[in-house]
Symmetry: C2
Subunit: 434 residues, 2 copies
Amino acid sequence: MSELVGNMLVAQSGGPTAVINASVAGAVSAAWRNAHVFPQDAEGETVGTIYGAQNGILGILNEELIDLSEVHQSVIEGLRYTPAAALGTCRYKIDFTKKPEQAKVDMDRLFAVFQAHDIRYFFYAGGNDSQDTSLKIHQQAIERGYELRVIGIPKTIDNDLPHTDHCPGYGSVIKYCATTVMEVGLDVGSMATDDGSCCVIEVMGRSAGWIAAGTVLARRFAADPPHIILVPEIRYDIDAILARIKESVATFGYCVVVAGEGIKDSEGKEIGADFNQLDDFGHPLLSGAAERLGQIIFGKLGTKTRTVKLGYAQRAAAHYGSATDAAEAFACGEAAVQAAVSGQSGYMVKLVRESSNPYRWSTALHPLAEIANVEHFLPRDWISEDGFLPNEKFIEYARPLIEGETRPPTEGGLPKFVAIEKARIEKKLSPRIA
Amino acid sequence: MSELVGNMLVAQSGGPTAVINASVAGAVSAAWRNAHVFPQDAEGETVGTIYGAQNGILGILNEELIDLSEVHQSVIEGLRYTPAAALGTCRYKIDFTKKPEQAKVDMDRLFAVFQAHDIRYFFYAGGNDSQDTSLKIHQQAIERGYELRVIGIPKTIDNDLPHTDHCPGYGSVIKYCATTVMEVGLDVGSMATDDGSCCVIEVMGRSAGWIAAGTVLARRFAADPPHIILVPEIRYDIDAILARIKESVATFGYCVVVAGEGIKDSEGKEIGADFNQLDDFGHPLLSGAAERLGQIIFGKLGTKTRTVKLGYAQRAAAHYGSATDAAEAFACGEAAVQAAVSGQSGYMVKLVRESSNPYRWSTALHPLAEIANVEHFLPRDWISEDGFLPNEKFIEYARPLIEGETRPPTEGGLPKFVAIEKARIEKKLSPRIA
């Protein structure tokens, strides 16, 4: 182990989750335990300080850094149950393929900022794109002979990163979505009197069906909702969906359908984007998968259909987050710092499942090069043959991830979350020319 | 007080809430405490039994009654945190104005069922329509000389019943919606980097703005979301809304808008129904207020806008219900039975606010004749002059209603709700001819 004394920088990227802040809390906590590497700023020097970048890579480019050494421990603790990205996030990508010129300029700027603030440790919490950014920074550091340790921290509600058993953020989103499906199911079921009713609940996940599949956990008995789960990995025949809905209404008096936002018809066309109409301003009417499916169900079957579109609410629902997920996210942040202090660079922390029942897990490292830009989809044999419900293999996988509840303290009957005061440190460089 | 020994029947009506079952629990608990009036079925007689009607008034017409005397106390306790209508509900209305013939037939049948099962106490939990039904039944009982005591129990997330300070179900729905707005607000705010983003969250409430207004409780500081709250009581100039959104994005970097489902434009036209287009099946495209507003914002301002439509999820969210609301709902059920046992009939239980700070409340009775079919809207002077935010008067009113959390027990990381076994008692009449 080579000891490298210098400053540490942590940043958040992409769409937030209920637990991405827990990873920052884990990273800062581990840094505090390694005070020999990250000593506090004793004589007004900045060596050994813990920085956060405001709004991810964009904040680094703009030299907008926040001193986290000064943040009170109670705030760091509060990050364990505070949703969204407390440091701010961005979707900015350093893209050497599509924008090589800009990428080169950005990379020069990044290293100028690293140099100016003696950043020697960089931790980036994010999904596929962000792991790619971390890889590029790691490679550039070697190329430029700049001593830097880079470790990626996994984060995505979509659960589509490869090599990790699952992603921090996923457990909380499916806990919330499954709870919602259970509650909405009770509601719709209790309303199903003279005419059968249908409800379509749309969940996120882009082209991956992990979130939609996770709502199967709401089913404790065969008659329980959701009765149908549609995932983007499968192309669906609309008539087959309608037949199944009709069957469910006939059998149970109602039907609850969960639809991933990116579900496709038999021709591979996204159902939620299936409009050839423009609104008053010339934009296509994209009403979403649930809305569109609801129209089709009502139109073809005459069954009254309501829709729910949880949107951002599902990825921010820390008021009922998974305690398992929050603990794992925290551990990923901790493990990233521990790995870097031990001399590692160019890896992402991953979650390793040691046992499903009882659930046991640990963290390990995986080369960023094998993770960047690879998407991991639901295995076909984890879904029933007809494509309408995940099977026991999936349930065994997902069940432990939602155990326990994060219970944020409340004030006036609402959650009391924490915020990091965005007191930026003094800039040393001239402004970036974007 | 005249003692009337006989059977009791409780039923639920209309759209469910997170706490309508708590009212049933309160009614059954009070009945158990009045065993002299409702004695248990000792010698195989049905006199003195507690019945529930399956699916409201429709269940009575169909003689589908459930014996609640046999339900285990743990289930009755569980109803205090179980959402939806455990007895089942309906939207069936006995309408003497529009369908006088059918109403007469229905009324004859109702009293035949009452007579057959010696029902002497009837409790109906519901909103405006259901209080009207209770009133009609009360009047008919007098007319027919059938000794019956009828008490209505208030229930509606819309909070639009008159004379009661507020309605059971309302506190829980605004607690959940305000929590969601707070969480989504953190999410959108942390994503607002280079381009300002907007999010529109649609909530229920039909033509009343109580639910939308309730999300103002998420604002602890002036910069906090929601930045704009649109209520159906006010007609909005679309350009004024757009100007305010633009201002919010310029000031805070983002804008969170809460829209009641029934919001209207300056001509009084519902914004969510503003389509002249038909889908493939000839039905108008009703994408909802949030979806439509999102299209207008993106079209006119070019601001990327996401939408959330909570739908039924908001009224069923018992996993984070208001403990105050659940306690009040329970008390309303109790008070209904207590009033009937004391000889009262033809009233609805109402909630009386004795003090806002500290919050103190009690129950009282109000004549059904003054409640049935009257809608109670947001007072204009509880909303800012520009119509974009509820003011301190509203906040003082709403704040106490969300205090405390119902915390349903969990199993496998999800809420463990209870169900009433729908074991119907033997029918004594020939089937209803509908």
